[in-house]
Point group: C2
Chain length 328, copies 2
């Protein structure tokens, strides 16, 4: 008896979930839900139906865990509480500042329905959060550092494309190597925004556009670029498509702490990710936590959880005895 998974929303993340389910033999994809015309979607998994989002409640009792693959801005704040009232759900809500509010809404719905929800699953929030928690609890006296990249920021790429005269563009967030090294050496530096990351933009200008003006506008854009050392490269659409079509990302969570009666010993805990595909990795984390949602629900637990609450063994397909024997 496999864990029956539904996918709600079929963009990059939804396709990543579909791919990840194939790597987990204890799970099966039973349905994909979309707000588009279902007949317009072709899945990679044979024999799985695509249904309109409006019909999702017809699947109550037929899906063990619904994986929500919508966006955090407008989709998930509505969809997760709504579906948590009928299914065990997992989402990747990543608007950090609004997590407490989202948690409260989902928790209320899940508790009333006696279902499990796990929110904000992925790598940041997600695995990075988990590592911040573990490292901070182990080394209470110390400093936390998070660096992102090298990777594509969708938000910054979108910002570039809104500049007048820009046909297309992609932005990479790049951690500053010298800052990383200072942290790793236990120097516990205080770093400004500019000292931690640089921003590299690859821009396709429209024909006849003023490149100097575009560059100046990008570099001075508040919040997005003004606080960073930003580099702008003008390239052809062809080169952009050929060399910059991937969605790589990654980053580093480092805690630098001290122990001993006089704080005389330094310790560095570092967790890092180097990802060829941001959405596929996020999807892989989500699928592992879908297993945990199923197990928690089977035990009779209910309400909203995050990666901070879930016993790690619950995300593994291996039985506890084997984990102790082979991994501990």
């Amino acid at each position: 008896m496999k864990i029956r998974i539904g996918i709600f929303g079929y963009g990059n993340l939804g396709r990543g979930v579909e791919a990840a389910i194939r790597q987990n033999k204890d799970m099966e994809l039973v349905a994909v839900f979309t707000r588009r015309d279902p007949s317009a979607l072709t899945l990679k998994t044979a024999g799985v139906g695509v249904y309109h989002a409006d019909t999702v409640l017809d699947f109550k009792g037929k899906i063990d865990v619904m994986i929500l693959c919508g966006g955090s801005a407008t989709d998930l704040p509505v969809q997760t509480p709504a579906l948590a009232a009928h299914f065990n759900v997992v989402d990747s809500f990543d608007t950090h500042a609004r997590i407490p509010e989202h948690f409260a809404n989902v928790d209320r719905a899940a508790k009333a329905a006696a279902k499990i929800s796990i929110i904000s699953v992925g790598w940041d929030p997600g695995m990075f959060s988990l590592n911040r928690l573990l490292a901070g609890a182990i080394l209470p006296e110390g400093e936390d550092y998070t660096f992102w990249g090298k990777g594509v920021s969708q938000g910054h790429s979108d910002a570039i494309r809104r500049v007048e005269g820009v046909a297309d563009g992609k932005q990479y967030t790049v951690p500053v190597e010298a800052a990383l090294e200072a942290v790793r050496e236990g120097k516990a530096p205080v770093l400004t925004t500019r000292e931690k990351h640089t921003r590299e933009c690859y821009v396709v200008a429209k024909e006849g556009a003023d490149q100097a003006k575009i560059e100046a506008e990008i570099k001075s854009m508040p919040n997005y670029f003004a606080d960073y050392d930003t580099t702008v490269h003008f390239i052809s659409q062809e080169e952009l498509s050929e060399k910059h079509s991937g969605i790589p990302h990654g980053g580093f969570v480092i805690r630098s702490g001290r122990t001993g009666f006089e704080g005389e010993h330094k310790h560095i805990i570092e967790y890092s990710l180097k990802l060829d595909s941001n959405p596929e990795f996020t999807a892989s984390v989500i699928v592992a936590y879908a297993r945990a949602a199923y197990r928690l629900s089977t035990e009779g637990q209910s309400g909203c959880k995050t990666v901070l609450d879930v016993p790690p063994a619950y995300i593994s397909a291996l039985p506890a005895e084997e984990l102790r024997k082979t991994l501990l």
Copy 2:
């Protein structure tokens, strides 16, 4: 009301636990137990009594969590089950091959006593195990790599000191940089023992001893050195004491995995530690899990657990709402 901690065994690890408790404001050290003459020990913490190990049962009900700081070879296999029958306990049992047997013994005692035990807490086993589990669950298709060092191996240092003509010695385990790089680049290499680590020995020879004979004997020692590229440096006792008296250690747990419908995307998850003091860091992990043991017990749970079973939030002193708000 603070969590009342007892320390059972006062060597390097016990002193590390004493130091770590000072960094955790929700805990207090209430007693240290030793098999030596208690009057011969002087603690760094004022007002805490030292008692003979034989009197430990007088403290039933006065200690919330007993932290066992004995050795894995002969102490813990006996002490942990014995004390698990009377206290919530945490140990750092690290004989990987015997963990299933130790778990069964401790689980039986803890369940009968309705107490919580958490075994094999530290960094390997411990944080490294946890990271192997998380990474393997997230990327089911991939390879695991564990590298240790650069750091002092007590077992190998002891082996050097047993060689005829050796007055003192210290051994460092060093990961091979080229192997680490190949793994990080996603090449998924198959590595022999010799390709993963080198061994560096600092040896003080007795007066008149044959250094060439000592070096040959060390390098050919089966299990310990014969399978490695081993370097032997002869130095004075003075230099050994001055430059090699610390107990640094560390290491790397790396998973190299693939996602996508064709396994077309590579991902690297890396967790690493760089520790000035191996026993103080291990102690810091143990103290954080003592908090979890107390909480699990307060909830009415019982039996033996490992770091793989404990919800991460339980090891933090911060309330769940604050963790979600600040770390997630």
